[in-house]
Amino acid sequence: MTDSAVIQERSRRRWAYVLLAPSAFWYLALLVLPLIVVLVYSVGERAETGGYQAAFTFDNYLNLGARWTAFQNTLTLAPAGTLICLLAGYPLAYYLAVKASPKTRLFLLILVVVPFWTSFLIRTYAWMFILGGRGLPQLLDYIGIEGVRLINTPLAVLVGIVYGYLPLMVFPIFVSLEKLDKRLLEASEDLGAAPFATFRQVTLPLSAPGVITGCMLVFILLMGEYLIPQMLGGGKVFFIGNALVDLFLQSLNWPFGSACAMALVVIMVVTVTLYLKATRGTGGRDVSLM
């Protein structure tokens, strides 16, 4: 290596540090520090009148079983919701990126994003009405299907999930499909590959980073979901997010809440790491993180 190359390398490094500094600071102040505080709280005790009192005990972790149902509900409905979002979102993203004419593509893409810009709460509120007694059940009643109850059931929560998070699934898949070189598809077709084979061997692997990112985004948001079960589940469908809100804002058991939060973080990290290990290789080297 020549001297000038070494100098260049050094200045490159220095630049890299400068560029990394703000985000590193943010991570330290708003991620590492808060998580340490939560960790400290999680081995503490609930003060007599609620809140936190310094202590060193693992009781809060040993007591996690008390929220087993909440974990169970979350761990069933979150993956189910993610899967449904993927199944529903992929064809749309594919249509937008590959089939739609370039002229309308952008317009159609905007149409997917626009609902996302209306308040999530208002959209969920619309479903409270649609699934409530004066909505769909009344319509079904007219055509002779009586006594259907939708609102405040796990099904209602699932509908809300798909509705709320579909755009989040479509967007990353679209981004990765859009990069896909259409000549590859044409080449594959020209070589006589069946459409499905083309899809399986060309499109799907190339869109994998988008699928992986989309699934992760939706899954992560669902694992911490609070509003949808609260509004469409009527407080009867209890997610870990609802348990956390109750522990912090109702029963003031901050240490136990912190332990639940830590458990949730660990579950997330383990599940997602396993998931990424399992999907490694499909995502390409440089996006292996995601």
Binding site: A16, A88, V113, T118, R134, T213, G224, A261, M268, L289
Partner: protein, 272 residues
């Protein structure tokens, strides 16, 4: 068939929105019983100072945190290309965890960490403050922006890096071979290629922040963001005013998106 399916998805996406819009013109004051056509709820919403304040707060918070996240995230994504070793591992790990930690945990963790820090800082300020009423740190805009930026920044890092990974490197190499200086290469070759990722990252960040309820619910002070206001309103019992607000916000977003698109098109070189 795919087209039909797409149409169905759009129906699914827009039926509830159509309902929101329809009921925003309801003359009755019940959000679920259509009694006649009226414009009165828009007038009411336009005069609702609280709601306008919440909307303004939300816009400020979303714009600030999306900008911060996009700038810092893009910087980090570019820098990470040239960084190896433990620093890279740690940074990747942090990005990974930032994305992994659910919003609700971020909200709770930020709340207790900030409050603990503020308590200590306020005691310190009170101790050294010469005047009578020392300034007090508290939850507010800053805390919401800070917490939103965290998640959004990690998101931008991931998106931009995915874009970098898919980038056509031969162009950069060609540019370097032609002895273009690095800044010019960056501006004329790298940045345009990254732009879709950066824009996507910004849009996602803005959307996330504008719509976030749960983090703001924990870390907001007495300021309300629009989602917090709407949540309160649903508790108070909903009138079609909420529908009018939702419709207005949607129109606003649509206009903003279209304007941005037109501006981007115009800015693009014709040969592009």
């Amino acid at each position: 068939m795919l087209r039909g399916y797409a149409a169905f998805v759009y129906l699914f996406l827009y039926a509830p929105i159509a309902l929101i819009v329809l009921f925003s013109f309801n003359s009755g004051n019940n959000a679920s019983d259509f009694q006649g056509f009226a414009f009165s709820w828009y007038v009411k919403a336009a005069n609702n100072k609280l709601m306008l304040g919440a909307l303004k707060n939300s816009l400020v918070v979303a714009a600030t945190s999306a900008t911060l996240a996009t700038v810092m995230g893009t910087m980090a994504a570019l820098a990470l290309q040239g960084v190896r070793g433990p620093l890279r591992t740690i940074f990747d790990g942090l990005t990974y965890v930032a994305i992994m930690v659910p919003g609700i945990v971020i909200g709770i963790a930020t709340l207790i960490a900030l409050v603990t820090t503020f308590d200590a800082a306020n005691a310190l300020i009170a101790g050294i403050w010469p005047g009578e009423a020392p300034p007090k740190l508290g939850l507010g805009y800053g805390s919401i922006i800070a917490a939103h930026t965290l998640f959004a920044m990690a998101l931008v890092i991931v998106i931009v890096r995915a874009r970098i990974a898919g980038m056509d490197r031969s162009l950069i190499e060609a540019s370097a071979d032609l002895y273009a200086d690095p800044v010019a290469t960056f501006r004329q070759v790298t940045l345009p290629q990254l732009m879709p990722g950066i824009v996507a990252g910004f849009l996602l960040s803005f959307t996330f922040s504008f719509d976030d309820f749960v983090i703001a619910f924990f870390v907001a002070g007495s300021q309300q963001t629009l989602p917090i206001y709407v949540f309160s309103s649903i508790r108070r019992g909903v009138t079609p005013e909420i529908n009018a607000i939702g419709t207005a916000v949607m129109l606003f977003s649509l206009t903003a998106l279209i304007t941005a698109q037109v501006l981007l098109r115009r800015g693009r070189k014709p040969a592009g």
